[in-house]
């Protein structure tokens, strides 16, 4: 793989993850990737294809099929000075590692009062709309964002993926790096060549507007943008904020936007109850209540255990762009 240092390259989200991992392995001997089938197969989405040949099996580790130890061993490596980039093959399989991520990684610095740190990245593909059914479609962010000590990143564009994955690898604390699998090959964009980082915890206004603030992340940012552009044709002005980072969350950007537009719609795929939108709503209600001209609204996944396999069931779970546009119109008109 050639490494250019200036200009930009057009690539999709898979290529952005792949290129960033490649450059990290090339640049820093402390880094390694580990997970199920990341070696000879090159990961199930071919993200690490060819890595084992170039970097060797010691830094491209095909682990046993055991998620708790993928996380736990990566923690031990990080405590001992390496920069492991661990992979959970699908977010749906992260539950056995919950103990290690929540109980250990997130608390290593705190528990030891700074004596030990845990500079670890755990990447995992999440999200639905890909006929993945119950165990290949879940969103897991709300299960983890309650946990201080963890950082959670969920970028949706290739340039953001590169900048934030670089920042995650450089970060001295554990980062859960979420990749929406439906965007992997669907989303293309320009990516600056060479090394750069985007700070974790900074949202991005992807579409400026002044009549409504829409906060989203992941796949739905793309649909929200499409809806906002449709409304633009009718003279309606919607601001779309791509959170990019879920923890820490960029309250400044959200509050500034809400104070300007005076209305807030939150859109996410994860189910509504106790989701990311609940925290954003509470924060805005606490800090900007008197700036609001309409009740806050949340457009989220339904409160059911999972999306079904049949197209009808999956479609019912996922939110179509038309429904986003409709909600936006209602809120602008309120």
């Amino acid at each position: 793989m050639a490494v250019a240092t200036s200009g930009t390259t057009t690539m999709n989200n898979v290529e952005a993850v792949r290129q960033t991992l490649y450059e990290a392995l090339k640049a820093d001997p402390r880094t390694l990737v580990m997970g199920e089938d990341v070696g000879a197969r090159g990961n199930v989405f071919l993200i690490t294809k060819g890595f084992i040949e170039e970097f060797g099996p010691e830094r491209v580790i095909d682990t046993p099929l055991a998620e708790a130890s993928i996380a736990g061993i990566a923690i031990g490596m990080a405590m001992e000075g390496l920069r492991p980039i661990a992979e959970i093959q699908f977010a749906d399989f992260i539950y056995p590692a919950f103990n290690q991520i929540v109980g250990e990684a997130a608390k290593t610095r705190y528990r030891s009062n700074g004596d030990y740190t845990c500079p670890l990245v755990i990447r995992t593909p999440y999200g639905g709309g890909v006929h993945g059914a119950l165990s290949h479609s879940v969103s897991i962010e709300a299960l983890f964002y309650h946990v201080p000590g963890l950082k959670i990143v969920a970028p949706a564009f290739p340039a953001d993926i590169k900048g934030l994955l670089n920042a995650s690898i450089d970060d001295p604390d554990p980062v859960l790096f979420l990749e929406h699998k439906k965007t992997y090959r669907l989303v293309k964009g320009e990516v600056p060549n060479g090394h750069y980082t985007i700070p974790i915890g900074k949202a991005d206004v992807k579409h400026p507007g002044d009549q409504l603030t829409v906060v989203s992340y992941g796949l739905y940012v793309h649909q929200a943008l499409e809806a906002a552009r449709q409304l633009e044709g009718d003279g309606l002005s919607v601001e779309v904020i791509d959170l990019r980072s879920i923890r820490p969350m960029d309250r400044t950007t959200i509050l500034e936007s809400v104070r300007k537009t005076r209305k807030l719609l939150i859109i996410h795929e994860d189910n509504k109850f106790g989701g990311i939108g609940a925290e954003i709503s509470a924060m805005v209600a606490e800090d900007a209540f008197f700036d609001l001209d309409a009740p806050i609204r949340r457009l989220c996944g339904p409160d059911v255990p999972a999306m079904g396999y049949a197209r009808t069931l999956e479609d019912e779970f996922m939110i179509p762009t038309s429904r986003m546009a409709e909600s936006m119109r209602e809120m602008v008109a309120f």
């Binding site: 130890s69 736990g72 061993i73 001295p172």
Partner: protein, 337 residues
């Protein structure tokens, strides 16, 4: 049994024997003090390792300071002392003082000493086992040879899935780890027979294709020899070993437990007769390594050290309330309040 002792005696000089004895006596004195402090209402909880002294002294003697890494568990006060952890810091942990290495955050015995290679642990059973394996992988990747990682745990811990995963990965990669099971026959109130069908935990090593060895956990010299051998093999690329040191927990699990509710006094008394501390004292006196008078003097000296440490640390300040907010992340962190 006597045979094993005689054989393993060969490469253990008097200096090391005295070191083992000193550590065992210190463990006993620290345990006793912890329970006294708890009864006096000065510390919230105490957890003794009475019955584990020989395992921990022997293991600590095999640990090479400045090279090896230790991933301990919560019952390892004696072991960390044997690895060089200061006595004062043991009491700083017990009193949860600001001067404690975790700033008074962690419950007793959950210490951290990175510069000594002693890892920070949580109370989560077996969670440290995968960390030990990851640390060993780091040594391997850096071609940092001649070093080993010690991973400690109890018999109950071997029922955890994470323990299995750690053993398996270490074996697959032939990592430099010595897994040491302090089998005291009980996990709080659950006897070994309810944890597993196997009588010998060391037998589990076979399933991973790893060396497994049983050692008398009441004999510090045998533990030292066994762990030393496993450590030497690990350090030169010979792969991991599971050492099962059979011992006993003489006290209740902690000061919050009452073992009379689940095990007979007869069982405990029978084990007490094998108490490794007086047994080792008698042996060193019989072999002329230490005289009765010197032994008495050593006991007095240790009690004085423990008294001095207790008196000093008790006066040290508690952490500031505001310390709750530090070291959440590397950068300054202001929680959403």
């Amino acid at each position: 049994m006597a045979d094993t002792l005689a054989r393993s005696r060969h490469d253990v000089g008097n200096d090391r024997l005295l070191m083992l004895l000193r550590n065992m006596l210190t463990q006993r004195a620290v345990d006793t003090r912890g329970f006294q402090l708890n009864r006096q209402g000065k510390i919230a909880i105490a957890m003794g390792s009475e019955g584990h002294e020989a395992v921990q002294a022997g293991t600590g003697a095999a640990f090479v300071r400045g090279k090896d890494l230790l991933y301990p568990y919560y019952r390892n006060t004696g072991l960390i002392l044997a690895c060089g952890f200061p006595l004062d810091d043991v009491f700083r942990s017990q009193f949860a003082r600001a001067t404690d290495r975790t700033g008074g955050r962690n419950i007793i015995n959950h210490i951290t000493a990175r510069e000594m290679g002693i890892a920070s642990i949580s109370s989560i059973i077996a969670a440290q086992c995968t960390h030990a394996v990851g640390a060993a992988y780091a040594l391997r990747l850096r071609k940092d040879t001649g070093r080993a990682v010690f991973c400690q745990f109890g018999d109950g811990a071997t029922s955890e899935g994470e323990w299995h995963e750690a053993m398996n990965f270490a074996a697959v990669h032939r990592l430099p780890v010595v897994f040491i099971c302090e089998n005291n026959r009980w996990a709080i109130s659950t006897p070994q027979s309810k944890q597993m069908v196997n009588k010998d935990i060391a037998a589990k090593a076979v399933g991973y294709g790893m060396h497994g060895v049983i050692v008398d956990g009441f004999d510090p010299v045998a533990v030292y020899s066994t762990v030393h051998e496993a450590r030497e093999r690990a350090a030169v690329g010979g792969g991991p070993t599971l050492v099962e040191a059979k011992c006993y927990r003489f006290l209740s699990h902690t000061t919050d437990d009452d073992d009379r509710t689940y095990r007979t006094r007869e069982e405990v008394e029978a084990q007490r007769k094998l108490d490794p501390v007086p047994r080792f004292e008698e042996r060193l006196v019989a072999e002329g390594v230490i005289s009765e008078a010197e032994l008495t003097a050593l006991r007095v000296a240790i009690t004085e050290l423990v008294n001095a440490a207790t008196d000093k640390i008790e006066l040290e300040p508690s952490p500031e309330a505001g310390d709750l907010y530090s070291n959440v992340y590397a950068d300054t962190y202001s929680p959403w309040l």
